[in-house]
């Protein structure tokens, strides 16, 4: 099995890391870049495929040179074999459409220059754009089948098919089992959990981890960078020029007001506890019922 995992660097929105200016706009330069959290599940799905069926996993990303660190992170966490970064000034300010065109060119270049791909894994929407469009658009550009919201995955390498469980959200959440031919696009759901139920699978995972340590430390030796010329892309159809989306303005989302009320009681004030008791009395009566 040969898999590609598409991954993206996003601002680290976690508490303490993210930085906003006075108007509530994200300060990109002051906020560190991390791997898009949802891509973790795509990576785990690729690792599960490699552990169960053997083969090769490559990480691929489009972005500035700094995104190499995101690919290195992927190598450390799920032991990808190598990394491909699609990086070029001409690619700056791409919207989902231009990104999908670029990524599909990356995948096609990979097929021409490296090897045929069996599965492309992508995460379910990014933490910054949150469109959820890039994966399906890339797949559309490739004209491959796509299975989204995947929570569990089985592959039959001999039949060249995959069988996936997808989480279908609605009034009632349902799990749908679908089958698709390879090559195929797989978009993982955050509910995806890899399972390793045999000793040999776990030993393989342990071996891969040990083998990867050295490789990840010399990540540059395993990184291939392609610019628009390598990808055979016309600058007019990529980057800002190739992006039909126009962002007219960005508004910070106001924080929802808290629904809880707080009353301060002075612990030294004699009747403080009396007030507390009075407050909780109705709830105690409720509990007695």
């Amino acid at each position: 099995m040969r898999s590609i995992v598409l991954t993206k660097g996003v601002p680290d929105f976690s508490e303490g890391a993210v930085s906003f200016d006075e108007e509530g706009h994200l300060e990109r330069g002051k906020t560190p870049t991390v791997m898009n959290p949802n891509d973790e599940f795509a990576l785990q799905a690729a690792l599960q495929t490699k552990i169960r069926h053997g083969g090769h996993v490559s990480g691929m990303s489009m972005g500035p040179p700094g995104y190499a660190e995101v690919l290195q992170g992927a190598m450390e966490t799920v032991y990808t074999d190598d990394s491909y970064l699609l990086s070029d000034r001409e690619l700056a300010a791409s919207d989902t459409w231009a990104t999908a065109i670029t990524l599909s060119a990356g995948l096609e270049t990979y097929q021409e220059e490296v090897a045929d791909i069996d599965i492309v894994f992508a995460g379910f929407k990014t933490a910054d754009g949150e469109t959820g469009q890039t994966g399906p658009q890339t797949c559309w550009a490739m004209d491959w089948p796509i299975v989204t919201h995947v929570v569990a995955l089985d592959i039959d390498p001999d039949e060249r098919t995959l069988r996936a469980k997808r989480l279908v959200e609605g009034d009632v959440d349902e799990i749908e089992t679908v089958e698709a031919p390879l090559p195929c696009f797989v978009v993982t759901d955050p509910e995806f959990e890899p399972t390793y139920r045999t000793a040999s699978q776990r030993l393989t995972r342990k071996r891969l981890r040990a083998e990867t340590e050295e490789r990840a430390a010399d990540h540059d030796d395993h990184l291939t960078t392609w610019d628009h010329a390598d990808l055979n892309l016309d600058p007019d159809y990529i980057g800002l020029d190739g992006s039909p989306t126009i962002v007219s303005s960005v508004d910070p989302i106001p924080k929802a007001p808290s629904e809880r009320e707080a009353t301060m009681i002075d612990p030294d004030a004699g009747d403080g506890m009396g007030e507390v008791l009075e407050e909780i009395q109705p709830y105690a009566a409720e509990a007695d019922d």
Binding site: R197, T198, A199, S200, R202, L203, K206, R207
Partner: protein, 560 residues
């Protein structure tokens, strides 16, 4: 279940548990070219393990840890024991005997160890070795039972993995071996067959250890304590020097703990706060970890034929823990047994009889003299007389009389007593009565001891603080122990005997509570497994359904 065992993964050998016994078995199996899978339930080997801990390399043993693991003493053990003493204590009066002669009998080397450090080092070596023969070590996997086909043991079942079949299954899963119990080879029935130990690892600067114990950096000391400081509970205390910490603990006969309704942590505190130790602490006390362990008494519990079908028991799982008077040896016998089990499999490989390896292993335990150390015949003979109540009380009465003081108290007796303590022959006959543990040491201290005049200002942490300092990964909603009988008669003993429970302490595993039912009030025992340190005491003293937590769950020792 008539299992279609052909569908399961198969390894030539499965070793359950990666302590010294399992590590020795796995390393030796790999030496023989056997495809060996090691399953360890801890998040890392050593995270579930506690020992006193001294490990011996015996001159007479066919295998020592250092034979099997090159460089282990340099890389993973603490200080070698070069000085060995026993302190007989009566109040503030202490008489010290030098036991170095006894300690050195049949001893090639002896090192203090901390189990997280030691076992995790062994795990890495074992993984390297077993990987070369097609296997390896997996952590966070709990083996929960035996896989049987047509009534014959053919493999293991796990919480985390599909069942696995094997030609040899080595149960090195410790004192509470679920496999040994499922196979009907061991039980948790008799408190007389067990000791319980509790231990504190105390942070001390290496230079201070050298200074206060009068040691060079490559030397270490072992101190034992007996006498009247433990409230008449049969047992004693120990202190071993590590590189930059001290292991200080107490070990008692479980039946004696129950009889005296003693709180194990309080007995440990009695030792920690004794003025004798104050000089070694210099009023600084920084406890890194509190730990507890059940210890089998090999004299009574070591299984003479520790196998069934393809299953062999190694180490604590087989009751292979030798404790006779001041001699405490467990890990070395586990190492020997593990290596012998591997050798037994190597020579019987391919034999159609599934029990061939087990039978050979039993013979090797006998022929190597290991079983004779674990179950000395001299003890069986002496026990027949010495542990009879009438004899004990008669001896006790003589010791308490002026005649006893005269006999023990004269200067010649002092020299003879030190020599007697140093005799492996006499020590192996010591019956397990109050006389050896309490009365005689107390009398020795009273008659020959020097009085210590300083006071200890040490305040050990409370049980609540000790539990709070331990690391747990709680398996929420899935308690691993079920209390079957809540009555005080059936399970009340656990409230005091459990090392993380105490009377009038609400934060421990076991509590007794007054419950009103139908107008009458009765006292019931309740259980919360969150603070559990998985020692197994309650499996013996209370009515429980006892299992280990799932792989990686439960307590995680950092020192061990």
């Amino acid at each position: 279940m008539a299992a279609a065992t052909d569908d399961y993964e198969h390894y030539e050998a499965i070793v359950v548990g990666c302590g010294p016994g399992g590590a020795a078995a796995a390393a030796r199996l790999a030496d023989h070219g056997v495809e060996t899978l090691v399953l360890e339930r801890g998040t890392e080997a050593g995270s579930k393990n506690v020992s006193g801990g001294l490990i011996y390399g015996e001159e007479s043993a066919p295998y020592t840890l250092a034979d099997l693991f090159d460089g282990v003493r340099e890389a993973a053990t603490e200080r070698p024991v070069t000085d060995y003493y026993i302190h007989n204590v009566a109040g503030n009066s202490v008489k010290t005997y030098d036991l170095t002669d006894l300690h050195e009998h049949d001893t090639d080397w002896c090192d203090a160890v901390l189990r997280r450090e030691l076992d995790s080092w062994l795990e890495r070596r074992v993984h390297e070795k077993t990987s070369e023969t097609g296997g390896g070590v997996l952590t966070n996997v709990r083996v929960n039972g035996l896989l049987e086909s047509d009534g014959e043991i053919v493999g293991v079942t796990c919480d985390e993995l599909e069942p696995i079949t094997a030609d040899l299954i080595v149960a090195a899963d410790g004192v509470n071996s679920e496999l040994a119990r499922e196979a009907g080879l061991m039980d948790w029935e008799e408190p007389e067959e067990w000791f319980q130990g509790v231990k504190a690892v105390v942070d001390v600067d290496p230079d201070a250890i050298d200074d206060r114990f009068d040691l060079d950096p490559d030397e270490g000391a072992a101190h034992l304590f007996s006498g009247d400081l433990f409230d008449d509970v049969r047992g004693g205390g120990f202190l071993y020097t590590n590189e930059d910490s001290l292991s200080i603990g107490t070990v008692f006969h479980l039946d004696s703990l129950l009889e005296r309704e003693a709180e194990p942590h309080e007995l440990l505190d009695a030792l920690l706060t004794h003025p004798l130790l104050a000089g070694w602490f210099e009023n600084e006390y920084d406890e890194r970890e509190y730990a507890a362990k059940l210890v089998p008494d090999s004299k009574k519990a070591a299984h003479r034929e520790p196998y069934r079908d393809r299953l062999v028991l190694v180490g604590d799982a087989a009751g292979q823990m030798q404790a006779q008077g001041p001699i405490i040896k467990g890990m070395n016998h586990a190492v020997t047994a593990g290596a012998l089990a591997a050798d037994a499999f190597a020579v019987t490989r391919g034999n159609a009889d599934p029990a061939a390896a087990g039978r050979r292993y039993t013979k090797l335990l006998e022929d190597s003299g290991t079983m004779a150390k674990l179950r000395p015949r001299r003890y069986d003979l002496a026990r027949a007389v010495g542990e009879r109540e009438g004899v004990t009380s008669a001896v006790e009465r003589v010791l308490e009389s002026p005649l006893g003081s005269l006999a023990v108290g004269n200067p010649i007796a002092d020299r003879l007593l030190e020599r007697a303590y140093n005799s492996p022959f006499l020590v192996s006959m010591l019956p397990d009565t109050k006389t050896g543990y309490v009365s005689l040491p107390t009398l020795i201290a009273e008659e020959h001891g020097k009085t210590i005049h300083w006071e200890s200002e040490i305040e050990p942490p409370t049980l609540e603080e000790r539990i709070g300092d331990l690391t747990y990964d709680t398996d929420v909603g899935n308690p691993h122990i079920e209390l079957l009988d809540q009555s005080l008669d059936a399970s009340g003993a656990a409230v005091t005997a459990c090392p993380v429970s105490a009377e009038d302490f609400g934060g421990g595993c076991y509590r007794s509570e007054a419950v009103k039912t139908n107008g009458t009030e009765e006292t019931l025992v309740s259980l919360d497994t969150q603070p559990c340190v998985e020692c197994g005491t309650c499996a013996v003293v209370a009515d429980t359904e006892w299992e280990h937590p799932r792989g990686g769950k439960g307590v995680e020792y950092r020192e061990g």
